[in-house]
Amino acid sequence: MSALLQFWLSHRAELAGLIGQHVLLVGASTALAVAIGVPLGIFAARRPRLSAPLVALANLVQTIPSLAMFGFLLPLPFLGGVGPRTAVVVLILYGLLPIVRTTIAGLQGIDRTIREAGVAMGMTGGELLRQVELPLAMPSIVAGIRVAAVVGVGSATIAAAIGAGGLGEYIYRGLSMVDTTVILAGAIPAAALALGVDGGLLWLERVLVQRRHPRRVKTLVAVAVLGSGVALGAAAASVFGERPVIVVGSKNFTEQLILGEIVAQAIERETGLTVDRRLNLGGTLICERALASGDIDVYVEYTGTALTAIFHRPLISDSSAVLSSVRESYASSGRTLLAPLGFNNTFTILVRGKDARASGMRTIDDAIQAATGWRAGFGYEFLERPDGFPGLSKRYGLRFKEPPKVMDLTLTYRALAAGQVDLIAGDATAGLIDALDLFPLADNRGYFPPYDAVPVARSDTLLRYPAVRRALEQLGGKISAADMRAMNNAADARREDPAVIARRFLEGK
């Protein structure tokens, strides 16, 4: 608990900014959902044959998981892309259902006699709507807005996956760092925000039902409308406003956050251009689409991942062949693969450091003899992947005392250090390798496919800013696997800020 308070205190400016972004996202999207949903509900309430399919459609939209929805929208030209715009579109789509439904219910629930009285007194359709139908349906509509806003506060946390900001930033950061404090630092204010919005709108709903103090309610509604107008304006300004010159992206795990910072700071130092960071994007595909659509200008990809996940080619183990294949594929789609950073984040076979030192083992070949008396522990994925254990044992003729144990990947490092197993397959750049004194055996028969880390940038950006290309090329070969392991360890074990780690690294070079 005190760790949490400390985190908030030391990040208070950032926290305030994220809460502001969150409120803005939800405020703007709810206001727009009202602007679209209420007229839609009015339209549908008068055409019963239309209202059923409309509500069914809105229902359908709401069943789409939000991450999938972001995925659908990312490649679209105007609505999609990385950043708050896509998030607002998704949140509007989710908010529509409750608002349309309660608008229809509110209007259809009005006593026929009352509507008839309005018509008989000579109200036009518009006068009847404004003076009678909408005021009477208002408590029901506000109930819908309340649901939309509360759902919006929750869904907006997912918006961080596409770089829209908000409290989800902390949640994603905490998840990638496996740090509960950081997760809570985002989750608790988000929950409090949801409760606050719920309570505030519930109160408004009650006041509207009681129909007391009409003047105060009018003032309140005016303030709310004004407030969402301001939020809308601010959001529009931030969405359509001037974008910083260079946008750097990254995926959502520790190593990527550090690499994103290194790339961003290198560009800042070398070129003096303004750099906007869209770090923590939710995965390879989101980064790829963001780069293709121009929402980001550069991020660091791994050659093996680009080959299989982006370009759908079979994996090959020759690292220079993979590099040139990926470089060519990128070039033909307007992107430029720069110089590899110098490390390969592939699978690596690990043994205890003291065992390696005692027997002088350096390569997997050196371990084949001893392995017949060892136990091995692997993550589930490594046991199953074609480029994992099945191929490995075939290529090297590796045999163990008993069939390999299956366990969570992060647990295998500790199991090895504790002597529960004698050999594991880990990530070549995992910070735990140094922290637990583990030794990576060299893949001397070249079995593992290469996952060389390489910055990939939009070619048009490099043409416009040649200094950016210079900055990125200068990083070529500068980061060894040991460097990366040390930096990952600093972030994961010592909880250092990726920006600080990156600065120290660049200043040391």
């Binding site: 006593d111 006699t113 008839e116 009285a117 018509v119 000579g122």
Partner: protein, 250 residues
């Protein structure tokens, strides 16, 4: 100025569902008279009111209001020139009593001060106080709501007032009180009033003429003193239901 305020000329009306309601109704309503439409449920009484303010249009024949066919009237202008006290009152629950009474003047864009004065005048006319004006409809008794309904219908000083079962849901004492008040109001304002009721006694007490509708046809239209002598069996049946009261009142 003709003496006829509303004229039905061989009017036939069939509901959208296909049920015939009126067949060849011919009826002249004179300026300033109170006419009561009497008949059993489903006799077409409410339809007559709806035809007058163009909530419905006849399939055959013509309805003339102020000498003009309702099809030639702008429906909004027509309805604003006619006061309508609808069945079950239909007060707007989200407006105060004063706001309810001021609806049509507001639609007509009167000055706020003029509306305020008019509302005060009407509250007084129907026997309510200024304090009642501040209340919500849900805070009134049934009788008070009926009075507000009448005040609302009179607000923009229409020349014609349509009343659909205005005292229908009230206890006998309140009803008698309101009927008395209606007569005194009518003496002062002198509107053309079409009042629908299923209660012959009420019709006899309030109206200058009683029109009896039966299965979509007008079977009698006479002053009360003539109608009580009617020999028409359908009229007789309606009279006999309330005859003991009539005898007692003589």
């Amino acid at each position: 100025m003709t003496a006829t305020a509303i004229e039905f000329d061989r009017v036939a009306y069939v509901q959208p569902s296909g049920v015939p309601v009126l067949e060849a109704l011919t009826l002249d309503i004179r300026r300033g008279e109170v006419i009561a439409l009497v008949g059993r449920s489903g006799a077409g009484k409410t339809t007559v009111l709806r035809l007058i303010n163009r909530l419905a249009l006849p399939q055959q024949g013509r309805v003339l209001v102020g000498g003009r066919d309702t099809t030639e009237w702008d429906p909004i202008a027509l309805r604003r020139s006619i006061g309508y006290v609808i069945q079950d009152v239909g007060l707007f629950p989200h407006m105060t009593v004063a706001a309810n009474i001021g609806v049509v003047p507001r639609l007509e864009r009167w000055e706020p001060a003029r509306i305020q004065a008019r509302v005060a005048e009407l509250l007084d006319l129907v026997g309510l106080t200024a304090e009642h004006g501040e209340r919500w409809p849900s805070e009134l008794s049934g009788g008070q709501r009926q009075r507000v309904g009448v005040a609302r219908a009179l607000a923009a000083d229409p020349s014609v007032l349509l009343m659909d079962e205005p005292f229908g849901a009230l206890d006998p004492v309140t009803r008698a009180e309101l009927q008395g008040q209606f007569r005194s109001v009518q003496q002062r304002v002198g509107k053309t009033v079409v009042i629908v009721t299923h209660d012959m006694l009420e019709a006899l007490a309030l109206a200058d003429r009683v029109a009896v509708l039966d299965q979509g046809a007008l079977i009698a239209c006479e002053p009360p003193e003539t109608i009580v002598e009617s020999t028409n069996p359908d009229v007789r049946r309606l009279l006999d239901a309330v005859l003991p009261h009539i005898r007692r009142s003589h």
